[in-house]
Symmetry: D3
Subunit: 176 residues, 6 copies
């Protein structure tokens, strides 16, 4: 039987650390499920990119690393406003998985209580592999390119991502 | 005819002050309606416990005090994202009530405008009877037990509530 | 430890069959959880009464039967638009329960798959103990009173329930 | 003080009967509030037109009749999934109104219970002034133009409304 | 053909700057669409007034300025929890518009990407024409009247707006 | 540049006709986006399977046909209660696509109006390739296996799909 590992993140945007983790997990399981959290969010400072854009960024980055995409499932996960049902919500949207990788103690607790095996994901060396840092560099025009895969840099250009982030930084929210 | 008093709180968790207030209100009315607010919330620092857990905590605490539970209605109240319809929402979920007890001037105003009699709930002596203080003590391992009814301490042990709170304190939100 | 049985219905309105079932279940468990389904619905032909009105009807009917209300939990359950998470949703709103009583094969399957013991509720003799039949009699002015507890008849008068049902029957939906 | 009358409909599409009613109501009150119900619905057989399109249809039709538009408020009313709070929802979206005109007994009941004066709207002579009839004629290519104001015929052309309706009639719902 | 300009704001409350902008836009287009954002919000410090109250404030203020209300459409826009679909949401609720006026770079970007012409609204001289400043003055009892149209002052009195704001300032949120 | 074609269905369950269409589309474009509609639905007669189960069924069926899965994107699409924003909703969840294949005239119209190229999907020969027929056979124990890919038969066994469908057929809805 196929063993699948789940990793969940917001991937705003995917960075080199994410790709490293995915590769290490894939050396431990047969298939990988990548849950793309807060899928309904976009065009905010915390969540600048749509789920579709993040799927494109991940697909290209994983392909560039020679990862067999027939063994990877990218699943957008919209938020639910009730943490107590979040695990069930993820389960209903995803192909069956068996091991949950998360650095977040609460996530591990919630899945463990539901009967899943959980693991801390393998360590990533650089502390810059962190979404907040990368989004901050994007707004300030610092060197963000070194922290994310080349494929993501490419998508950023296609979607004019830096322009969007700069516009987002000039306003706290949509003047609705 | 039966006169019912309404008190609404989040009860995260119920503390000794809540129980005192309930007892005093029950000396003024025939029956008590306890609205458990933000019922859909759980597993966050502000709202660690599910509605079901809070109902269990309240039921046992009130029973321990010898309160006649056939005269108490515990009603979970999910939030609505529109304050203008909140009073009507509460009314639709609850058995008929006549007096609203609240320390919150806005709550009293909203119910008064809809035609309800409103009262400030009786004063509670100790300032530690305050959810934020109690949740903070739980995370820091300080003496939280003295502030909440014995029955709540018992439920906390059953549901491993302190472990959950500590996990919650290590992460701002679910890494979705 | 306390054993709790769960029974879920819409109780539109509660009838004598419901009360009989509740009594029989209470002879098998320590405490009873009554889930009031489609709690957010009211003022439709299928769901004429609010959750609050149904709670009142149930409380009075159970009290009239001499049932110890400190051993009964009435829990309004709003619908979720996703059956896959419905069991978890019920669990999060309710005090812990252990046996689920349902005449509905799907409900039993869903709870069984989540690890609950499930049972068919004890049989009720009369086929008129059926919400659709009762609501139909109410609209047509036939003898509905014999099918529901006296306490429910009383609440119906207080809330002018028959007038509401007749208005509902003249219109398929709110002319919004 | 200004007296405002409220009339609520879905206006899918507005027809000559609607305009007649509006004119008669405006002879009884100072200002008219037109609630456009099910505002979030569009592109279905029952609700083919967006709220924005219906506002345009109504604005032009009322202007053509010489009605003073500074005395008319067109308010889109999205549905709420809870009839018990529907009246409050309408109140929160609308400028203050005092008399509710509705042919629907339930609507009149709900508003009356909340303290509003309610009236049956003045009778309209022709039975074809009925949304279902008009939408049916549109799909079948029968003479629908005679039932709706000229201005609505114009908007129908601009938005290619008949083409949309015919496409809708070939499919029960969006193949999502 | 009619050219319509769109301006979107929360209008909590409408101030003299808003009215000035509306007048200037109306000198550039045939008709004005005023989108009232966060329409579902009320009774919070950031959004004290209901959509209906804001419509009333705007209608009276614009009428006082002699603006032809048959050329103005006031459209309540409830929030959507997904910025990526916000433009489409606005389009579906509004009569057709062609030029979008916004001081917010993100709003202009979103509409521009969807094919709309966008413009910065004309400058307003005084920096006090700013909702946060006005709401702050209302709570502190400073001179807020000078910043808003006379008609808005009148509505504030009718709805006891200052009392509401003061109650709101004593509590961070509804004690739900 | 990569050209992507979009096909949307509910895939309850995927059948041989779906797979044939996917293969034909893939001979016309570089990559295929498969939108899995009504993603939030499951455990009903119309929508028996969760999004995760449908993803598993599709992944295995496409792999069995030797399709290169690195060129296929399976995207769960939850419903939105507003058809006017449905196209934008799909766009936000999906990697960029350029041609929309649909047998539904309304779907083609909606995408065409938004600027997409649309095509009727290639014809499928057998009229049994139709979800309603297949689900009906499943309930009645007729030969459903011949209509769906072997891989789907396998998943049906793993998830005890036929038992679930039979339970669903004995009850119109969850006795909530």
């Amino acid at each position: 039987m196929v063993t699948r590992g789940l990793i969940i993140g917001r991937f705003q945007p995917p960075h080199r650390g994410h790709i490293e983790i995915c590769k290490k997990i894939m050396s431990e399981v047969d298939e990988l499920v990548v849950g793309i959290g807060s899928a309904q969010e976009s065009h905010t400072l915390e969540n600048p990119f749509t789920a579709g854009e993040r799927i494109l960024m991940l697909t290209r980055s994983l392909a560039d690393e020679g990862i067999d995409l027939s063994k990877v499932h990218l699943i957008p996960i919209p938020d639910v406003n009730n943490n107590a049902i979040w695990v069930t919500h993820v389960v209903s949207l995803s192909p069956p998985f068996h091991i949950v990788y998360s650095g977040n103690p609460l996530v591990r607790r919630l899945f463990k209580e539901t009967g899943f095996e959980t693991k801390k994901p393998p360590m990533i060396k650089r502390k810059e592999y962190w979404g907040t840092e990368i989004r901050d560099r994007m707004i300030k025009g610092k060197n963000w390119q070194e922290l994310i895969p080349k494929a993501v840099v490419g998508v950023m250009q296609e979607i004019k991502g830096i322009d969007r982030m700069k516009d987002l930084s000039k306003t706290d929210y949509l003047l609705r």
